[in-house]
Every structure is written in structure tokens, then in C-alpha cells.
């Protein structure tokens, strides 16, 4: 007896009328990306359901993947058995014991194969009795069961489907276009990326790397973050911008209080250029109003001036503690809190202006020519791809 398939139910997107197919296709694409390491598993998509046929693959890693794929409202594991009373009973018991820890249950049997000698009412009772005899802490409750075990006796085989496992909901990543996430390595930016993905946005990331002031570990941290995010959608490309020369020049040439503002403007300009080059229509940042000097209303007013691309700021009104809660939940917190400097924390002036003024920024920026360094940064940008499953680990042979 083995797990045969996983039944996936769509959530909100089932409501999306004529666009539904667009959404379900995207979901199929994303699921495919996540189950790539399990080549025998195959996807079947219907109007309101999707099935992953396991063909002998182990269900656990695929179940884990499904928990994270946006657009999945809920899903269930199903066992295929012979049309035999005992086998069906055992399947129902196994589903219950494997996937829950003590809950009330009910059995809902459907017999489309009328050659099967026991009718569905009788089967409900017999399976229920069998489960009761062979388990502890699983009472029957037909009105409000914790788990509804569905049994479908068909012509060739019987399918027993277990309890609903909650998916993350939202829309399939990629169904709402693409954004360029400004990924620093801190706690906020991955959460911003996650929330954008939850609304169906596909992400690419941009990271500013300033060796030797920021080190390889800081870069690795960003790769690990991108990889963690990729589990909620598809692979994530990271544009790593060599930022040292430009940053050093800003640091040397711009008066101390304004160097941070100008640096941010440079990042914004580079991001826009990279987005434009790759056909990406928006930027996403982890800014949260008032959190640090660059995230005051005045700072945003001064920094945002350099682009007219839409900037998604999913965290803009959130409290830090709420952001941390999400970061922990999506497993980015531990990575983000590794103690390496990123480009935002080196060269930070003692007292950056919390209320920079546009005219002053114009004045300072206007006197210096940054174009050579700026273009070099864009040209030197390297693309790293983070895949949801780390077949790209350099240690695969060792381990």
C-alpha cells in the first residue's frame, strides 16, 4: 500500500473567472519547478483541481514543498488500494495515523463500482469500527470531524484521501508580473519579497556588493535568502552589483550627512536600469516607515525622486515585531541575523540626515560626475540563480 497522488485545491484563484486558466497554468509551472528533483511525479491539471501523481516517489518532500507554494489553498494525500475491504480499512488507518496526532474523524465512502459487495453506508461503519479498534485518541465525529477521510471505490481501484493540509493561499507566483526586489541581507527585505510573491509577483533580486568592505559571507547570505524565497515560487535570479567604487566615491565626495541619501539614490537608479534591461516593471523594497534614517517620509521623498517605476513597499506600515514574526515563519530570520556587514551598514555616517532636502541633494550630486563608476557597476553586474532545491550545492559530492 503506498501513497498514490496528492490532490491540490485552488483557493481564491478559482474565483477569477476567465483568467482562471492563466492562474492555474502558472501554478502548474511553479509546482513543476518545485518537484523537479522527483522525476517520476507527474502533474495533472483539471478545472478546479490539480493532481500530483507520485508514481512511486516519496510523498513527504513533495508535501513539504506544497505547503509553501502560493496559490494552493489546501491539499490532501491519497492512497490507492485494491478493491478489498481489509486493504481499504488499512489505508484509512494509515492516512489517519501518518498525518495527524489524535483528532476526531469521519469516513465518507462513495461506491461508484457497484460490483463491490458492500454498500457505502455499511463501508463507512466498517472502516470506522476498524480505525477505532486499531488506534487510540481518534474518536468518531460525523458532524464536525477533525478529519474527513474520503473513500472512493472505483472500477479498478479504491482511492482513500486523507485530511486537508493547509497551503499558503495567495496567488501563484508569476501570475502578477515580475518585480526587482532590493535584497540587502537584513530582516526586512526577504519578508517584503515574500509578501509580494504571495500576491502572485515573481521576483528577481538585486544586491549591492562592496568587497572588501562586505565579504563573501554577506554575499552567501543573500544567495541563501534568495534560495529560501525560491521555495515559495520558482527560481530567483540575483543581480549582484559591484558597488565598491561608486560607494567609495560617494563616501569621499558627498558631505557626511547626505552620503547615505545619495548612496540610496544611486542604488535606486541602478535598480531601475537593471529592471529596464530585464523587462521588469517594478521595484520592491523592505522599507518600513520611520524605521531608520533612510525610511523617513523626507528621505523617501528625496530618494524616490530618481525613479518613476512603481515601488512596492509591502512592509511600509508594519511594526518591526510583526516583520520578525513573518521572517521566522518563512525561515529567513536565522539567515538574516548572521552577523556580517552589508553595503548599507558600511560607511554609515554617525548622524545621517533623517530629514534630507531635495535641493541640497541636487546641489551635492550636481557638482560631481559619477557616471564612470555608475556604468562600471551596471556592466559588472553578475547574475546568480538560486534554485528551490539545492542541486547546486558545491558540497553534493562530499555529502
Amino acid at each position: 500500500m503506498q501513497y498514490d497522488h496528492i490532490l491540490i485545491r485552488y483557493g481564491e484563484m478559482a474565483l477569477k473567472g476567465k483568467n482562471r486558466k492563466h492562474f492555474t497554468k502558472q501554478l502548474e509551472y511553479n509546482v513543476k519547478d518545485q518537484i523537479r528533483p522527483y522525476p517520476k511525479a507527474k502533474i495533472e491539471r483539471t478545472r478546479d483541481r490539480m493532481y500530483i501523481h507520485l508514481h512511486g516517489e516519496k510523498p513527504e518532500p513533495i508535501v513539504e514543498a506544497c505547503r509553501n507554494i502560493f496559490g494552493i489553498h489546501s491539499f490532501s494525500l491519497a492512497i490507492r488500494t485494491e478493491n478489498e475491504e481489509l486493504a481499504i480499512k488499512q489505508a484509512a488507518l494509515q492516512l489517519l495515523l501518518d498525518n495527524t496526532a489524535g483528532t476526531s474523524f469521519k469516513i465518507s465512502c462513495r461506491r461508484t463500482n457497484k460490483k463491490f459487495p458492500i454498500d457505502s453506508q455499511e463501508m463507512n461503519q466498517r472502516i470506522g469500527a476498524y480505525v477505532l479498534q486499531n488506534s487510540e485518541g481518534y474518536p468518531v465525529d460525523v458532524r464536525k470531524p477533525g478529519v474527513d477521510i474520503m473513500v472512493e471505490i472505483r472500477e479498478r481501484a479504491t482511492y482513500v484521501t486523507g485530511q486537508k493540509i493547509k497551503g499558503p493561499g495567495g496567488l501563484p507566483a508569476g501570475s502578477s508580473g515580475k518585480t526587482l526586489l532590493m535584497l540587502s541581507g537584513g530582516i526586512d527585505s526577504p519578508v517584503a519579497g515574500y509578501l509580494a510573491m504571495k500576491r502572485g509577483v515573481e521576483i528577481e533580486a538585486i544586491h549591492f556588493h562592496s568587497p572588501p568592505y562586505t565579504n563573501e559571507r554577506a554575499k552567501q547570505k543573500v544567495i541563501d535568502l534568495a534560495q529560501t524565497l525560491s521555495k515559495f515560487g520558482a527560481k530567483v535570479k540575483i543581480h549582484v552589483v559591484p558597488f565598491t567604487d561608486l560607494q567609495v566615491k560617494v563616501h569621499q565626495e558627498i558631505p557626511f550627512g547626505y552620503s547615505m541619501t545619495v548612496m540610496r539614490r544611486m542604488m535606486m537608479r541602478i535598480s531601475e536600469r537593471i529592471a529596464e534591461k530585464h523587462g521588469i516593471m517594478s521595484l520592491t523594497s523592505g522599507e518600513s516607515l520611520g524605521q531608520v534614517a533612510s525610511q523617513t517620509m523626507e528621505s523617501m521623498f528625496a530618494i524616490n525622486e530618481v525613479t518613476n517605476y512603481p515601488i512596492l513597499r509591502p512592509l511600509i506600515t508594519m511594526d518591526k515585531s510583526d516583520i520578525i514574526d513573518i521572517a521566522k515563519q518563512i525561515d529567513t530570520y536565522e539567515i538574516s541575523t548572521r552577523p556580517y556587514d552589508d553595503c548599507c551598514t558600511v560607511f554609515v555616517p554617525e548622524a545621517p540626515k533623517t530629514k534630507p532636502r531635495r535641493e541640497k541633494v541636487h546641489l551635492y550630486e550636481g557638482t560631481i560626475d559619477f557616471s564612470a563608476e555608475f556604468e562600471r557597476a551596471i556592466e559588472g553586474t553578475e547574475i546568480i540563480t538560486a534554485l528551490p532545491n539545492e542541486d547546486n550545492s558545491p558540497f553534493a559530492d562530499l555529502l
Binding site: 563573501e216 559571507r217 558540497f395 562530499l398 555529502l399
Partner: protein, 379 residues
């Protein structure tokens, strides 16, 4: 050579040795060093932790690398006792645990903790009911081994763990040293808070182990220093040993998945053969772990048999290697109510994946001959 002493230690897998050598040569830097070499050693360590977590179906932050089973058990038990001493002072364990659990408990008794040693049936089984009956409002820790090292008894860990969900203030520790890679254990579903593994029992290298610690379980460190392993186990990480262990764990678990019946078949063959011998008394439970068979030849000193078999290049144990230097009876067997004469003469055969049916047959044949011969001499 026929090596049937795999519960004492296993031979490192050749691929594991290759990984060890490579890691020791290339990733020798201290993972805490700032430079690039340190960084790559740290990355390897992170990759090891990730793989260990995936193989055990737990979180990466729930893996603590240790030096092995004894350290893991000490850290789990003393660490919990110190953490919770203000809540209570009572510990529950069983009479058939490994010395690294029993002696640790005895040490805590000297420090004022109270320990209940729950007794077992004739096969070494403890029940959730008996554990539950021993719980008092002072109980802070329950420690039960998964697979008994002498008998192969598989304790009802999941049932005990689920029973303990009624007592959320009690920490549940499982010594999984003999079970890892041989008998599946679902750490999360069994409500386990602390779980000990040791690399050299599954073809890794000596000196490496894992203590699983559930994310919300707190313990007090037993080694103070540089703050490695969440400051719960200071000391420069043994990167090559850990690499080898994680690789060995993967190979063992894959083997278990691909050939789930292999060890059972070896055991069945041995069991059938031994049952036919009049002088042999079997002690292991019929439904025990697939890799351990314990039996006695009453009246025959087990050392004699071990040495006689050793002359034929066959290696088995008398009780557990950790306590076999004192030649008195097996404490585990005595705890099961086995008579002294049998408990004094116990022999343990323990398999691993590289053993074969032919080896079992040859062993049975030699054992039969040896017994016949020894009987003539000794009477």
C-alpha cells in the same frame, strides 16, 4: 572476516572515508575564522546541518553536533536537569538504559535529584502506562532508549511521546544511538524533545554525534567556551567528522529505504538456526530490532565462545562493549528477569548492511561445531 559486532561499532563506509579525507584536507580552516577559508568551512558545516535536518525531518536549528552518544546523553540529561531544577527534581528512566544514561542519572542522584528506574518485562519492554504511573508533580525529564543495545528491544517511543503530550512541562529524551539508520523513528510525531545519535554506529567515524534539540526546548550547556552550536556545545567544530557523519547517515537511510527487509532476513535466518540448537536460549524479543540477536549458552562462559569464534575470524560480543570489561552478568538481562546463569553467558550478534546470508550460514555452522567441541572439553 565475519564482523557481527556492529552494535559496538561499525566499519566506516569507504565513501565516508573519502569524504572525511577530502573535508580534512580542503576544509580544515576554523569555521569561525573570518577569512575565505573559514567561510568555506562554515558553508560546509551549514550544508551538513541542513542535510542532517532533512534526513531526520527536523529543523536546521534543531541539530547540535556533539562528540557522540555519551556526550549527547550527558548533555541532554544534565542539561535538562539543570535547566529545570527550579521546577522539579524528578527524572524517570528505565532499568535497561545504556551506562551513559544510567551513570548520568546516578550522578544526578548524588546531587539531590530523584530518579525512578521503571522496570521492564522479560524482553526488556517498558510501557507508556508504567512511565505514566511514575510521573509526579516534580517530574522534569523522561529518558527512554529507542532500541536496546543488548537485546534489540524496540521501545514504544511514539506511544510514550504521545502520552507525554498531556504533561507539557516534562522533557522527553530518547537515546536513538542503536536505532539510527536501522529502525525508523519519527522524531516530531513521537513528541521527542531531545534525541541522541552517534556516527560510528552507522558507518561514520568515532567522535561525532548529533543531539536533536526541539526549537523550544531549553537545556544548560555542559561545555563552556567559544559559543559554538548555539552556545550549547562550545569547541571548534569537527568539520570532517561531521561531514563524514552526515554522509554516513544519508547512506544508511537510503539503504534502509532501498532494502528495508535485508536486515530482517539476516535476523530471521540466524533466529531459525539458533532455535534449532538445543543448548541455545534466545533472549531478544521475537519482534525486536532487525540487527540485534542476543542469546546464551547456559553453563558456558561467553568469553570462551567469543575467543573460540575469534579464532575463526568471527567477531561477536558478550553483552554491550561498554560494560563488557567487568565479567559479571548483563545488567540488562538481569533487569528482564533472566536467571543469573543465562545472564552471565549472553552473546550478542549485531548486523549491518554489509553482512550477508552466507555469513550467517557460516556463523551457524561454526557455532554448532564450536559448541559441540567445547561441550566435550568442558564436561
Amino acid at each position: 572476516m565475519i564482523y557481527f559486532d556492529n552494535s559496538a561499532t561499525t566499519k566506516p563506509h569507504p565513501d565516508v572515508l573519502i569524504s572525511y579525507t577530502e573535508a580534512a584536507q580542503t576544509y580544515f580552516a576554523n569555521p569561525s575564522s573570518l577569512h575565505r577559508l573559514g567561510g568555506s568551512a562554515e558553508q560546509l558545516l551549514t550544508a551538513c546541518r541542513k542535510q542532517a535536518a532533512q534526513l531526520l525531518h527536523v529543523g536546521e536549528n534543531e541539530i547540535l553536533f556533539t562528540s557522540g552518544g555519551t556526550e549527547g546523553n550527558n548533555l541532554a540529561i544534565k542539561g535538562t536537569a539543570l535547566q529545570k531544577k527550579r521546577i522539579g527534581n524528578h527524572i524517570i528512566t528505565t532499568t535497561v538504559e545504556h551506562p551513559s544514561v544510567l551513570e548520568t542519572c546516578a550522578e544526578l542522584e548524588n546531587q539531590g535529584f530523584k530518579v525512578t528506574y521503571v522496570d521492564v518485562d522479560k524482553y526488556g519492554y517498558v510501557t507508556a502506562e508504567k512511565i505514566k504511573a511514575a510521573i509526579t508533580d516534580q517530574t522534569i525529564l523522561v529518558s527512554v532508549m529507542h532500541v536496546n543495545n543488548e537485546l534489540g528491544t524496540i521501545q514504544p517511543i511514539k506511544t510514550i511521546g504521545q502520552m507525554l503530550t498531556e504533561f507539557p512541562h516534562i522533557t522527553f529524551h530518547v537515546d536513538h544511538v542503536q536505532g539510527a539508520g536501522k529502525v525508523a523513528l519519527d522524531i516530531k510525531k513521537s513528541n521527542i524533545h531531545l534525541c541522541t545519535l552517534s556516527a560510528h554506529k552507522f558507518h561514520g567515524m568515532k567522535g561525532s554525534g548529533i543531539l536533536y534539540k526541539a526549537a523550544d526546548t531549553r537545556i544548560v550547556a555542559q561545555l563552556s567556551g567559544g559559543g559554538q552550536e548555539q552556545a550549547l556545545r562550545s569547541g571548534t567544530e569537527n568539520v570532517p567528522g561531521i561531514t563524514a557523519m552526515v554522509k554516513a547517515l544519508r547512506l544508511a537511510i537510503e539503504e534502509l529505504r532501498v532494502h528495508p527487509a535485508k536486515l530482517f532476513e539476516l535476523r530471521e535466518r540466524l533466529w531459525a538456526g539458533l532455535s534449532k540448537m538445543d543448548d541455545v536460549v534466545l533472549h531478544s524479543p521475537p519482534a525486536g530490532a532487525p540487527h540485534i540477536v542476543n542469546f546464551s549458552v547456559p553453563g558456558l562462559k561467553p568469553e570462551v565462545l567469543v575467543h573460540a569464534l575469534g579464532e575463526k575470524d568471527i567477531y561477536v560480543s558478550t553483552k554491550s562493549a561498554c560494560s563488557s570489561k567487568n565479567s559479571d552478568a548483563s545488567a540488562v538481562l538481569l533487569a528482564c528477569g533472566v536467571p543469573d546463569t543465562q545472564a552471565e553467558s549472553a552473546i550478542r550478534v549485531s548486523f549491518s548492511y554489509d553482512n550477508t546470508q552466507q555469513e550467517v550460514d557460516y556463523f551457524l555452522q561454526i557455532l554448532d561445531k564450536t559448541l559441540t567441541h567445547l561441550k566435550k572439553v568442558m564436561r
